[in-house]
């Protein structure tokens, strides 16, 4: 066997894996999703009795979407107290959101995720998504805004525009009321800037549907306030992790954990210089591998014995003397239930009885 044979044998990579990677490279759209929606029929029936049928149709969609989100994001299962749900009936009564209804929001420390329903969205526009129809959010009166997209359950991979459209129709769109559920991805810093620019605590959030090149529809605005974050911080001392293979030692300074994200703080010699555009990539490579190792191979162990890895970092800026590796995931984890944190043989933190529970190098500073 030689390397050319091996290169040719890559033809054995499964078609769907080739397509998924190709979609990413050739800039087409991919979306992830998982479990099925759950409708609570009992609640729907009770509401039907209490309300007129027409009003019920709209409200039940909002309420049903809230239930889907709670279930899919594992909010109750994992005590995600930073998840905030809005009263959709109050919004209807206030008449402030005929076309934009806030469903829920969660602040994961760096990103504020906002779930909304917009209507009316014609089915023909869903048929043109994602190629010719895009969604965005903005703060009225400012130039601040960002990306929004149909809210699909987490962890299921979809490939191709048609599959995405079908999933949107199945999970995010209600044909009868022409209501579409979206997630707005807002950097907390952007919202704070808008608050500062406008001099108010709440900001006027609006959502846009851009059809083709120029046709834009705006939903809202509705007042929106940043929601509280739920963070648990771990200070590891710092702990020294030595990798025998790479013969390098990295300091694991701390971990900031939210139900949906983590920031691993690490430090090592020359870290600042490696996180600049002029960095020597060859020299950085072993350190990059060590950075990855911390994010990917460290296990958070829960009381039932299950383990969780935060996965690879999405961004790794050098700030305030440490490399801050930001990781994110779809459904909540129970950050209060973490019993032990370990990387290989190195125990970074472990929950023990009373005052003796703190490990040699780390202490828990739960907020």
């Amino acid at each position: 066997m030689d390397e050319l044979t091996l290169l040719r044998a890559m033809n054995g990579i499964h078609e769907e894996d080739v397509v998924m990677a190709g979609k990413l490279y050739f800039n087409e759209n991919t979306v992830r999703k998982t479990s099925k929606r759950i409708f609570t029929l009992a609640l729907a029936a009770a509401l039907l009795l209490a309300l007129g049928a027409a009003a019920y149709a709209v409200w039940s969609v909002h309420i049903s979407r809230q239930q889907d989100l709670r279930s899919d994001l594992k909010i109750e299962e994992n005590n995600a107290s930073s998840y905030m749900e809005y009263d959709v009936t109050q919004q209807e009564k206030a008449g402030s959101a005929a076309s934009l209804v806030l469903l829920s929001a969660v602040n994961d420390g760096t990103e504020q995720r906002i779930y909304v329903d917009v209507s009316p969205v014609a089915k023909e526009n869903i048929a043109r998504f994602p190629a010719d129809v895009r969604f965005a959010w903005s703060i009225a009166g400012t130039e601040i805004g960002g990306f929004a997209g149909p809210q699909l359950p987490v962890s299921l991979s979809l490939s191709g525009d048609e599959a995405i459209r079908n999933a949107v129709l199945d999970y995010a769109y209600d044909e009868e009321t022409e209501t579409l559920t979206l997630q707005c991805y807002a950097d907390v810093k952007f919202i704070e800037k808008a608050m500062s620019d406008l001099g108010t605590d709440s900001v006027p959030l609006q959502v846009h549907m851009i059809v083709g090149e120029n046709d834009s529809h705006t939903f809202g605005p509705v007042p929106f306030k940043l929601t509280d974050e739920q963070t648990r911080s771990f200070d590891f001392g710092p702990a020294q992790y030595h990798d025998k293979e790479l013969n390098k030692t990295i300091e694991i300074v701390g971990l900031e954990l939210t139900p949906f994200s983590a920031v691993w703080k690490v430090s090592y010699e020359g870290a600042a210089s490696f996180h600049t555009p002029e960095a020597d990539q060859a020299a950085y490579e072993p350190w990059s591998m060590l950075e990855d190792k911390v994010c990917i191979e460290t296990k958070l162990i829960f009381s039932d014995g299950s383990e969780f890895s935060t996965g690879g970092a999405l961004t790794t800026p050098y700030e305030n003397g440490t490399v801050n590796q930001f990781c994110g995931w779809g459904s909540a984890i129970n950050i209060d239930d973490v019993q032990r944190i370990e990387l290989g043989d190195l125990v970074l933190w472990e929950l023990k009885a009373a005052d003796e529970e703190m490990p040699r190098q780390a202490q828990d500073q739960q907020q």
Partner: protein, 188 residues
């Protein structure tokens, strides 16, 4: 036009089949060919040959995923091209770099080489790749199926080149172990 409709055109032996394929997958196949050959002229030839091969293989075949079907033809043609022109290790394309990297995956050893049919090796690679974590898999496929430069992968994934390189390093190491387990060694 949907893939199914394009495939129908091939099955109907319609003249429009190739024009529609070129329109939808021209850039896709050209990029694959260019990544491997590193030459516009060779890449263009590979793409034209791809349409010709696709025309000959349909209607007897009915591809389920047209992009993968066409991409695979282009990829094989491009590898054949650089091999035929003896540019495999000194080409301007990514192939020479990718091959150098892949050589790390093949275990050294003196025991008798296990002769493995290329199809079996392909199956092994397919299973190996499917078992990788999603990000590592995407990076591996982009690098060794599409032969995308590391810098481009990093840009697409919004991460540093170091991250991509370290992922590839890890995956190659795992692949080496997987091949070793199968008893596969160098033959030259």
């Amino acid at each position: 036009m949907e893939d199914r409709e394009i495939v129908d055109l091939y099955w109907q032996r319609s003249d429009r089949a190739i024009a529609e394929t070129e329109q939808k997958y021209g850039r896709y196949c050209r990029t694959i060919a260019m990544n491997i050959c590193g030459s516009n002229e060779d890449a263009e030839e590979c793409v034209n040959d791809t349409w010709f091969r696709a025309w000959n293989r349909m209607p007897s075949e009915r591809p389920t995923v047209l992009s993968a079907f066409l991409g695979c033809i282009t990829r094989n043609l491009a590898i054949n091209t650089i091999k035929a022109k003896n540019r495999i290790k000194r080409g301007r394309g990514e192939a020479s770099l990718a091959l150098e990297e892949l050589s790390e995956c093949i275990p050294d050893g003196r025991s008798p080489e296990k002769v493995l049919e290329e199809k079996e090796l392909e199956k092994l690679i397919g299973r190996f790749t499917a078992d990788l974590k999603e990000t590592d898999r995407t990076i591996f496929v982009l690098r060794y199926w599409y032969l995308v430069p590391v810098a481009d992968i990093a840009e697409k994934l919004h991460c540093s080149q170091g991250k991509v390189k370290s992922s590839l390093f890890r995956t190659r190491k795992k692949l080496r172990e997987a091949l070793q387990k199968e008893g596969l060694y160098w033959t030259n």
